[in-house]
């Protein structure tokens, strides 16, 4: 079908892109955002464009919508839509196509809706912009649309402001808006990336369902092969602005041809039923024992009766042996990050005990805890925000130990050794964070945490912001470090697949409680709680694997 677009009959396609080249302004890291990109979106099909950050997939989508920033220009190629080339079309004609013939939904539903307008007004606007209907008929249609995308109580929802809605609900509103004028093409730019896994599964289901019912063509942009496996009919793989491979979903997923595709697919973390081989723990015994840990957030004031109480962590207990990794898995709001902050004493708990190497650190004052702080280190999520842009890597690594009294020469020697351990060359010592990629920065963050020779590492979503191939490398690095140093790890993540790669035990959190704890084999194959079962079932692209594993298990 789409394997060889040049011989394809473009009349059959809803959208046909030929030789698209988009030029970047001078001084960017490469001359073209996309170069010579060709593909067809067949009528009534879902085409996934997959690639890592910087692959040009979003630029392609924005070009089709005519939403490129002014400084970026199309220098060659054509985009045929209903037999008309939209490249070079005047602004007014493009505006008329947007929302009516081609609609788009975006990645971050939290920022994609105007905070000052009601949901209804924003759906209404999609119709009003094209002069369709009367206020009364549009209102009726808007409520219908809100019903259609599965929002509860659509009539009430119509007059709600976006801030009252959850991420998943907002994405449904976006879809309702996009569907308002029954466009023939829907472009979805990473529409589920910012969502929790169970919500993601629901939104994917909704998109697929609507696509089938309306016979729409969907251009779905994603970085996740799991998502591709869930919904794609055909796939376009992009790397650094080029299309490296395209074909049906089956072809590309089962027998990828291009080395880049193979690498990408190989890097996707999969659920495993095999528990991690137990490491030879250097000092055996318990590093961390947590009993009945509790934290409640309070805001507002009791005096004015506006007190709000949110239990973030409720009666959490677990034990972590030396040299082992405990995964803490949960959706947003489950309390997993709060737990991490409590364990590192970035926040005080309201109750319970945290026994670190036998001493209860929970009630300790800052001054008393300070010498212990070195031994519990943290790795952060955002490799861009967590390194001081004005400090050299050397300074970032040595400033902490020097503050704790290490002589500079020793600190520098350690830092260089650690840079080597995390796979960076010693020359990195004198350079600044902006000179490094996201993956390299995360390596620096890991080196920084290791400077104190900690006995416990707390990694909060440490690989979530990284591309999948980089993610795999960082996970390997963490594994290697644990083998070499015997450090214990708390690995906080929303991604069950990642957790299954690196954890000896996994604790599943929901609304502040640990609902289930056990080795990956139990969590993924024989979940004891309904919630865990639901979470595992929602993981995109794992259906086949799970069946295979379950069959093997007997």
């Amino acid at each position: 079908m789409t394997a060889n677009p040049d011989t394809d009959d473009s009349q059959k396609s809803a959208l046909s892109v030929r030789g698209l080249t988009v030029t970047l302004p001078d001084g960017m890291e490469r001359a073209h955002a996309v170069k010579d990109v060709s593909f067809d979106l067949e009528r009534g099909q879902i085409l996934c464009v997959i690639g890592e950050s910087g692959s040009g997939k979003s630029v392609t989508a924005n070009t089709i919508m005519g939403l490129l920033p002014r400084v970026i220009g199309v220098s060659a190629g054509s985009i045929m839509l209903d037999g008309r080339d939209i490249i070079g079309m005047d602004a007014e004609s493009l505006r008329d196509l947007r929302g009516r013939v081609v609609s788009m939904i975006f990645q971050d539903p939290l920022s994609a809706l105007n905070p000052l307008m009601t949901v209804g007004a924003q759906v209404d606007e999609a119709m009003r912009a094209h002069g369709i209907g009367t206020p009364a008929s549009r209102r009726k249609r808007a409520v219908e649309l809100l019903t259609e995308v599965g929002l509860p109580d659509p009539a009430l929802m119509y007059s709600q402001y976006p801030f009252r809605l959850s991420g998943g609900q907002r994405q449904r509103v976006m879809i309702a808006m996009a569907l308002a004028l029954e466009p023939s093409i829907l472009i979805a730019d990473e529409p589920t990336t910012a969502l929790d896994v169970t919500t993601q599964a629901q939104i994917l289901e909704l998109i697929r369902d609507i696509q089938r019912r309306k016979g729409m063509s969907v251009l779905f942009i994603t970085h996740d092969f799991g998502v591709v496996a869930e919904i794609a009919d055909s796939v376009v793989v992009m790397e650094k602005g080029h299309v490296v491979e395209q074909g049906t979903a089956d072809q590309v997923l089962k027998s990828p041809e291009h080395p880049y595709t193979k690498r990408l697919i190989a890097a996707v973390p999969h659920l495993t039923d095999k528990d991690r081989p137990s490491l030879q723990a250097k000092g055996s015994g318990t590093v961390l024992q947590v009993e009945g840990l509790t934290k409640t957030y309070r805001s507002g004031s009791a005096l004015l009766r506006s007190l709000r109480v949110v239990p973030a962590v409720r009666e959490v207990s677990f034990e972590l042996a030396s040299g082992r990794t405990l995964g803490v898995v949960g959706e947003s709001g489950s309390g997993k990050s709060s737990l991490g902050r409590l364990l590192t004493k970035l926040m005080d708990c309201d109750g319970g005990r945290i026994l670190f190497e036998g001493r209860d650190i929970a009630p300790m004052a800052e001054a008393e805890f300070r010498p212990l702080r070195q031994r519990i280190q943290m790795i952060f999520q955002d490799p861009f925000a967590s390194l001081n842009p004005r400090a050299t890597i050397g300074r970032i690594l040595t400033v902490g130990p020097i503050a704790h009294g290490m002589p500079y020469a020793k600190a520098r020697e350690d830092a260089r050794a650690l840079l080597d351990l995390v796979g960076l060359d010693a020359g990195a010592f004198g350079r600044y964070p902006h000179e490094f990629s996201g993956g390299q920065r995360q390596r620096i963050g890991i080196a920084r945490a290791l400077m104190f020779k900690p006995t416990l590492l707390v990694a909060d979503e440490a690989v979530s912001a990284l591309d999948v191939s980089i993610q795999a490398q960082i996970l390997q690095l963490l594994d290697k470090i644990q083998r070499e140093t015997g450090v214990s790890m708390i690995f906080i993540t929303h991604d069950l697949r990642v957790a299954s790669q690196i954890c000896d035990d996994i604790a599943v959190m929901q609304r502040g409680r640990v609902v289930e704890m056990g080795p990956p084999s139990q969590i993924f194959l024989n979940p004891k709680s309904d919630y865990t079962r639901e979470l595992v079932a929602a993981i995109p692209g794992e259906r086949d694997e799970r069946h295979a594993l379950a069959a093997a298990e007997g």
């Binding site: 939403l67 929302g99 975006f106 994609a112 905070p115 606007e125 999609a126």
Partner: protein, 316 residues
């Protein structure tokens, strides 16, 4: 919302008390005081002086004076002017209209022009317009208001003869047009610096909003550029500007006092200077409290308006 209002009202009341204590104390620390001008009168004996101090209540400890002043204030008695024996409220009310007129027209000009320049600067970033606006704002910010006033008088009154050099109206001609004619120069001169500030903030606020996803969403729906800008961008960009307007109010008041002096505008600015010269403390305290109330009320109203306009605060 009621809790929020109650909270803010209580804060405001406490603030007013603190301002009045500081004002009263500092005023009485200044050497000289209301008695000093009588001391210059050769016909005054020490006995006369003491009698006068007794009459005016100035021989009592300062905290007693303060408490009495507060007590009377709470009963609506702002005291009597030392200078002409008229009640302070009457004295202030003779001048208040002129100042409020000047402040009001300046604020309208500053917000209208500043908003327009700010939006256009943001939508045409790095254009000639944008650079000109930036340089213009820097000039307006770095040159004092009275200089613009003097230059304005020289050019438009003395050389071109288009506009009157001062006063609020021509004696014998109280028509609205005559008032407006006199109002043009002082209000524009006073507005200049605020146009500069307002346009810079508006430009930043617009740029913040313009790069947000919901603006892209609106475009993706096929909404016209004009409506994207006016409804989605400007609507959201104006939110932080409401707070700024509240904060700017005292600056406009102080500016008005200077401008009034340059244009012999019969407002509170001149009253303030004259009263200070005569050590007419009741009037000075009255003016001080008036500006404190205006400032606090400005901020309070700005906060309330933001809360009303932004559903995230209104409904939270």
């Amino acid at each position: 919302m009621p809790a929020f209002l109650l909270n803010r009202f209580m804060q405001s009341a406490v603030l007013l008390v603190i301002v009045s204590i500081i004002g009263f104390t500092v005023l009485n620390l200044i050497p000289g005081g209301p008695m000093s001008q009588y001391a210059l009168d050769p016909g005054m004996t020490q006995e006369d002086m003491n009698r006068l101090a007794e009459q005016l209540g100035l021989n009592r400890p300062i905290w007693v004076q303060y408490l009495e002043w507060v007590w009377r204030l709470l009963h609506g008695d702002w005291g009597t002017s030392f200078r002409d024996g008229a009640p302070v409220l009457t004295v202030i009310s003779r001048h208040i209209f002129a100042t409020l007129l000047l402040m009001g027209s300046s604020t309208v000009i500053a917000i209208a022009v500043g908003t327009w320049i700010g939006i256009r600067g943001a939508t045409h970033r790095y254009s000639i317009f944008d650079y000109t606006a930036t340089v213009g704002a820097m000039i307006a910010l770095s040159i004092p208001t009275f200089w613009f006033g003097l230059v304005g008088i020289y050019v438009f009154s003395l050389q071109l003869g288009w506009l009157p050099a001062g006063n609020m109206y021509t004696i014998g001609d109280g028509s609205v047009l005559n008032y407006l004619h006199h109002l043009i120069m002082p209000s524009v001169v006073l507005a200049l610096v605020h146009i500069a500030i307002w346009s810079r903030y508006m430009r930043t606020a617009t740029l913040d909003v313009i790069s947000q996803e919901f603006v892209k969403t609106a475009r993706a729906k096929g909404v016209s550029e004009r409506r994207v800008l006016m409804k989605h961008v400007v609507g959201n960009a104006l939110l932080p500007m409401i707070t700024l307007a509240g904060v700017q109010l005292p600056a406009i008041l102080t500016g008005a006092l200077v401008t009034e002096t340059v244009f012999t505008w019969p407002g509170m600015g001149r009253l303030f200077l004259d009263s200070l010269g005569y050590s007419d403390y009741p009037v000075v305290m009255g003016l001080l409290m008036f500006s404190a109330v205006l400032t606090i009320a400005g901020n309070l109203i700005a906060d309330i308006v933001v809360a009303l306009v932004d559903p995230r605060i209104r409904l939270a």
